[in-house]
C-alpha cells in the first residue's frame, strides 16, 4: 500500500447532488499511511442518521484526520466510505460543513464573511443578519473578522458552517483554548443545530463537553477504533484499558 499524499482530493467541480438522505454512513477498512506509519489503521465506522457523535482519543490518535477523511478533504490509501449508497465526492461534501479548530476567516468584515459563503453557495443572502444574531454577532457585523476574539471567531465560523444548511456538521475541537463562557455559547449553538436535525460529529478532548453533547462516543487509539459505544455506557464503563486510562487522565501509550 502506498503512502497517502494527503493532497487535493478534487473537490470544487460541480457534481449532481445525490438524492435521498446523506446518512447512514458506513466506512470500512479506512487506512491512511504516511511515511511508512499507519495514521488510520483499518478503521470501521457506522454513523446513524441522527444524534451527536464525539470522537475522542489521545493526541495523534487520528481524530482530526478521520474527520477530514469523512468530509472528503483527504483521500484514504485504502478502505471505503459509503454515504447511504453514495461515494464521497463534491456532491456529498456540499451537503456537509466543517468547523476547524483554528477558524479560517477571510480578510473582510464579519458580515462579508457570511455574505461570501451565501453567495458562493447560492443561498438566501437575506438570512445573513439572522445568522449573525443567532450566534450573538449582530452588533459586530461591520468589524474586521480577524480582529474578533477567539470565541467570536469560532462563533462566526460556526455561523458560516450553519449558513450552508448542512445535513452533517463536523466540528474539529471547536472550543479548544476558549474560555468557559465562549465554550458554553458554542455548545448551545451546536446543541440547537443538533435538535433541529443536523447530524453532528465533534472531535474533542473535553470529557465534560462530550458528556454534555454526545449521544455516542468513538474512541480512537493509534489510528484504530478502540471503542464505539453510547455515551452513557462509554463514560460509565469503558471497555478498553486505553479508554479507561484516558478518562482517568492517565497517559495513554
Amino acid at each position: 500500500m502506498s503512502d497517502a499524499t494527503l493532497a487535493f482530493t478534487g473537490l470544487g467541480a460541480r457534481e449532481a447532488a445525490p438524492a435521498g438522505p446523506l446518512l447512514p454512513l458506513r466506512a470500512r477498512g479506512l487506512t491512511v499511511v504516511l511515511g511508512g506509519r499507519a495514521l488510520i489503521d483499518g478503521l470501521d465506522l457506522d454513523l446513524g442518521p441522527t444524534g451527536c457523535t464525539a470522537i475522542m482519543g489521545p493526541n495523534g490518535a487520528g481524530k482530526s484526520l478521520l474527520l477530514r477523511l469523512l468530509h472528503g478533504l483527504e483521500a484514504p490509501c485504502g478502505g471505503t466510505i459509503d454515504w447511504n449508497g453514495h461515494a464521497p465526492g463534491t456532491a456529498v461534501t456540499r451537503r456537509q460543513a466543517l468547523v476547524f479548530q483554528t477558524p479560517v476567516l477571510l480578510r473582510r468584515s464579519v458580515a462579508a464573511n457570511l455574505d461570501f459563503v451565501l453567495k458562493a453557495r447560492r443561498k438566501d443572502r437575506s438570512r445573513r443578519d439572522a445568522m449573525l444574531d443567532h450566534v450573538g454577532l449582530a452588533g459586530k457585523a461591520a468589524q474586521p473578522a480577524r480582529l474578533l476574539s477567539g470565541g467570536e471567531k469560532q462563533r462566526l465560523a460556526l455561523a458560516r458552517a450553519l449558513a450552508l444548511e448542512p445535513e452533517m456538521l463536523f466540528l474539529d475541537e471547536p472550543t479548544a483554548s476558549l474560555d468557559p463562557g465562549s465554550v458554553q455559547r458554542i455548545e448551545a449553538i451546536v446543541a440547537e443545530a443538533g435538535a433541529a436535525g443536523t447530524r453532528v460529529v465533534i472531535v474533542t478532548h473535553d470529557i465534560g463537553q462530550a458528556r454534555r453533547l454526545a449521544d455516542d462516543v468513538v474512541f480512537l487509539n493509534r489510528g484504530r477504533m478502540a471503542e464505539h459505544a453510547p455515551a452513557d455506557t462509554f463514560f460509565a464503563a469503558p471497555s478498553t484499558r486505553a479508554a479507561r486510562d484516558f478518562l482517568d487522565g492517565r497517559l495513554v501509550v
Binding site: 493532497a7 487535493f8 482530493t9 473537490l11 470544487g12 467541480a13 460541480r14 477530514r68 468530509h71 478533504l73 463534491t90 461534501t93 456540499r94 460543513a97 466543517l98 476547524f100 479560517v104 477571510l106 480578510r107 473582510r108 461570501f116 459563503v117 458562493a120 453557495r121 474586521p144 480577524r146 480582529l147 450552508l164
Partner: protein
C-alpha cells in the same frame, strides 16, 4: 561645485514654476507607466493567481521562468519590441514604433513578469492558509481565485506599485522603442539622459527631482497601504 549649486537652484525653479516642458514630460511618463502597470496587472495578476492555486507537471520550471523574467534587461526588451514593431517586423503594419503605444508595450513586457511572480508568491501563501476551508466549501477554481485576489488586495496593490516603480524608472526600453522624440515620446528618464549629454543640467536635475519625489511617493504609498491594511488585520 558652483555650477552644480546653480543648476540645482534653476532645477528647483523649474519644478516650482511648473515649466510647461517639464509638465509635459512628467505627464507623458505617468501616462505611459500607469498604462503599462494597468495592463501588466491585467495579465500578471490572473496568471500569478492561476499558478498559485494550480498544481501541474512542469510547475517548477514555470516558477523558475517567472522569477527569471523579473530580471529582464530593459534594453533587451526594447530591442525585441523594436524588432517586432519596426517596419520589417511582424507587427510593423501597426505603425506603433516611436509612439507612446510602443513604450507602453515595452514597459508592460518588462513589468508583467514582476507582477505575475510577486503576486504568485503573495497568493500562494494566502492559498495555503485558505485551502482546506475553500475545499470544505467546495468552491470552484474561479471562485477560489476571485476570493484570493480580493482578500490579497492590499499586498497586491504594493505589487502593482513595485511594478510601476520599475516602469517609471527604466530608460533602456523606452529609449529604443520611443526614440525620445520631443513632444511625442520624451519621458523623464530619456529626457534626463538627453539633457545630461547636452550639458543642460537644470532640466536634467529638475526631472531627477520629480523622479525621486515619485519614487519617494510610491514608497510612502506602499507603507501607507500596509499600515492601513494591518490596522484592520487585512494583511
Amino acid at each position: 561645485m558652483q555650477d552644480m549649486t546653480e543648476a540645482l537652484g534653476l532645477a528647483v525653479d523649474l519644478v516650482a514654476s511648473g515649466d510647461p516642458d517639464l509638465v509635459e514630460i512628467v505627464g507623458l511618463s505617468l501616462q505611459v507607466s500607469l498604462s503599462a502597470t494597468l495592463v501588466a496587472c491585467m495579465i500578471g495578476l490572473p496568471l500569478g493567481a492561476l499558478v498559485a492555486v494550480t498544481r501541474f507537471r512542469g510547475r517548477g520550471a514555470v516558477l523558475t521562468l517567472m522569477n527569471a523574467l523579473m530580471g529582464l534587461p530593459p534594453v533587451v526588451v526594447g530591442l525585441i519590441v523594436y524588432l517586432h514593431l519596426s517596419r520589417a517586423g511582424p507587427l510593423g503594419f501597426l505603425g506603433l514604433l516611436y509612439t507612446p503605444g510602443a513604450m507602453i508595450i515595452a514597459q508592460t513586457i518588462l513589468i508583467a513578469p514582476i507582477v505575475a511572480a510577486l503576486s504568485r508568491q503573495v497568493l500562494e501563501d494566502m492559498h495555503s492558509e485558505y485551502d482546506a476551508q475553500f475545499r470544505s466549501l467546495c468552491l470552484t477554481r474561479g471562485q477560489t481565485i476571485a476570493a484570493l485576489l480580493w482578500d490579497a488586495r492590499y499586498p497586491l496593490l504594493t505589487v502593482a506599485l513595485a511594478g510601476f516603480g520599475r516602469a517609471v524608472a527604466e530608460v533602456g526600453a523606452v529609449m529604443i522603442v520611443g526614440g525620445n522624440i520631443d513632444h511625442l515620446t520624451r519621458v523623464m528618464t530619456t529626457a534626463i539622459a538627453l539633457e545630461t549629454s547636452k550639458g543642460a543640467l537644470p532640466m536634467a536635475l529638475a526631472l531627477g527631482i520629480v523622479l525621486m519625489a515619485l519614487a519617494l511617493g510610491v514608497n510612502a504609498a506602499v507603507q501607507g497601504v500596509r499600515s492601513t491594511a494591518a490596522r484592520y488585520a487585512y494583511v
